[in-house]
Symmetry: C4
Subunit: 237 residues, 4 copies
């Protein structure tokens, strides 16, 4: 097996595992979610097939597509959200994985059409500020190239923001997309987003006037975990 | 065994399994729910016996009744909601199964006496618009033929709506009824309704002014999964 | 073994089992709950010992007391809520078991100092009207004979109500007491009360103006399950 | 092995076990929490290492530090919240263990920047009054010695309060700290705080005007479980 084919096989396994984890962590019931990863060197994306249940999913079922979305390997149809994933990979060149879920509380915020304010250090530890929300697409943008337009709208909303400091977005009336350096990191982020969204829901239903934390506290918590001055954890060897 | 008797035996198994699933999926605690299926050819309905716990239920305990509700086979009394099921089978001639549960959030909406607006794509993927709510019955309609009148009120409320595009209803002050081409499909719909009801509850307690999604987005999501132009999933072979 | 001693031994087992079930059904965490049963013939009550964890509890640890609360059998101290149980047994002569829990939603209603209105048929199937709430005790009634006074206040609140049609009460700022013909029935009622309290919580946070169901619907549901004209379930053989 | 070294080894096991329990009881997901214990005789503190997952944690990984926070034993970096723990041990000389978690409802109250009022006897059984909330730190106090300043602010807030009658605090915009005579007691308190916080959340979202219970009831419940006149449980032998 060539190195290229070996790398792709490993990526199929990673993507399959990531999709199964969405179900195991309670982030995706039914078929409400999909995960993908990119192999930047060969320019292909590995993604979940459409409408296939998580528990019986195997690496061989994953679909490999090129950057135009054409299937390169695999006999199943790719996730119907593929075009959204591709837009994100094109725009954010340091990300290696994308995850879309309808996890409960993140979806509730998307449905409420509100950004998730940074109400506490749990949020600040992982996301550098409020979780952004996209605008609704026009009827035209929904009727034609809906999934690609969803991706373009996300990219527009993230303009001027480092996607690794803000690795999540809420799509109005729909649900969330998360990303990261790997598909595993994107799954972890989707799980953290759900936790943060759940805390923010209860905080604002308890106190509708609850304020975002001060900027100094946001920076302190984000930067003690991320970037060159981080002192949380055991460091990287 | 004749084909007719074989088909009926299979239907008993399906209905028993569907009732057990209501408990296993957390949609019915205690004896709060019942599922039935119809054999259109022979004009009989198979339904759960009244007040029997789910875990010890067997196919032989299912009750077979004719369209007047008279027991054709079985030694137990049928579900007290039988007459409601029969009204639905009479009015909606393409459905094969009916499910009634007191699942938590769907019941909360029925108790709140509010329709569930379509607040997001999770809802739009399965239900083409707001989940309808019946009006309260009059005292007379409660005192006499209560269960049949409940069914008639549901049918009245669904007038002009395709029951396969809107396979669920909320009965005011009571709970939900769901249906589908098979009893298994009706169970799946009951589970999806509960999920959608739970998301809508949290959305409106977070933002009491949250709007229904635009019609274009509702159509896009419903129609990418249902009908001749669907492109979600792997198609039907 | 005499019949009397045999009956008492069986009652110890029933009470022990009922206490364990409070934990297993999620109605009592830590040591937040206690169950008792009465042997009307010999005039003794069997009750949980105070502060003993549920998982290691055995029938031999149950405490047998007379109607004055004096220990007749057993080396452990009885539940600190014993005097409340005794008041209920004295006032409601057709009940055989009493259960006290701090189950989540029932306690939330008690803390909110609101009766639970009958918002739906799930409630009406088991409780004939709103779940009553006691008034706060005076400081004097708290400082002296607190537990007996709690029982007396419950009895006062239930004046004119059939305790088998309304087998539960909320004690203001505290939690719930339930009862029934047996201790097993009282546990089932505590579980149903929690379910009803949870539904009513979500109903009123979703729609603060939600109304109680009409009297005709309340009667219909209660009476199709209870009393001489009941037609729910398989009847009593 | 000397007695000193044996005691320290036992403390490592206790602290490791306490950290694992935070995860097992659902109080800490990801790496959201840390527990420590102090050996008053030798003046050392045993604490969780930073950023290590709970399930694979072993006693040998625990970090032993002196009261200045310098590592005495262990090859891993201590929890980044160490300096907060040390301030609490210095100020509250009768406590033996400290626990910090981001458990859901306690964190929601901290984010809401509200004290948890004593709304019922479940609360009064364990905490003698409202759970206090700290003020936000200044930007200066965040930028320099953030963790120690957090501890100092907690100590300031607890001035005049017996820390064993009020063994918990909410840090504004952050989460809770709990303590007790041992690290095991502190874990139990963290669990009880979460339960109380969850009940208070639902109580106030149901009835925004719910009042704290009368002082006589608070005293009755706290004192029947704690102090010289306690009559709950089986006493101490």
């Amino acid at each position: 097996m060539t190195d290229r084919r070996g790398a792709l096989l490993d990526l199929r396994c990673e993507v399959c595992e990531a999709n199964k984890e969405l179900a195991e962590r309670g982030l995706a019931r039914f078929t409400f979610g999909n995960a993908s990863a990119i192999d930047r060197e060969s320019g292909v994306v590995v993604i979940k097939p459409s409408g296939v249940p998580y528990d019986a999913m195997t690496p061989a079922q994953m679909v490999v597509v090129d950057m135009k979305g054409d299937v390169v390997e695999g006999s199943l149809r790719p996730s119907s959200d593929l075009a959204t994933h591709l837009e994100l990979y094109r725009a954010f060149d340091r990300i290696g994985g994308v995850v879309h879920t309808h996890s409960h509380y993140a979806t509730v915020w998307a449905q409420s059409q509100r950004e998730i304010p940074c109400l506490g250090t749990t949020h600040a530890d992982y996301f550098h500020g409020a979780i952004p929300l996209t605008a609704h697409l026009s009827a035209d943008d929904i009727q034609s190239e809906y999934e690609a337009n969803t991706g373009r709208e996300i990219v527009r909303r993230l303009a001027g923001i480092d996607p690794l400091r803000m690795p999540a977005v809420l799509v109005a009336g729909h649900a969330s997309f998360c990303w990261g350096e790997s598909v595993g990191a994107a799954v972890e982020t989707a799980d953290l987003l759900e936790e943060v969204a759940r805390m923010a829901y209860a905080t604002l239903t308890l106190n509708t006037n609850a304020d975002a934390i001060p900027a100094a506290l946001l920076d302190k918590h984000f930067l003690r975990k991320h970037g060159p001055a981080a002192y949380y954890g055991q460091g990287k060897s």
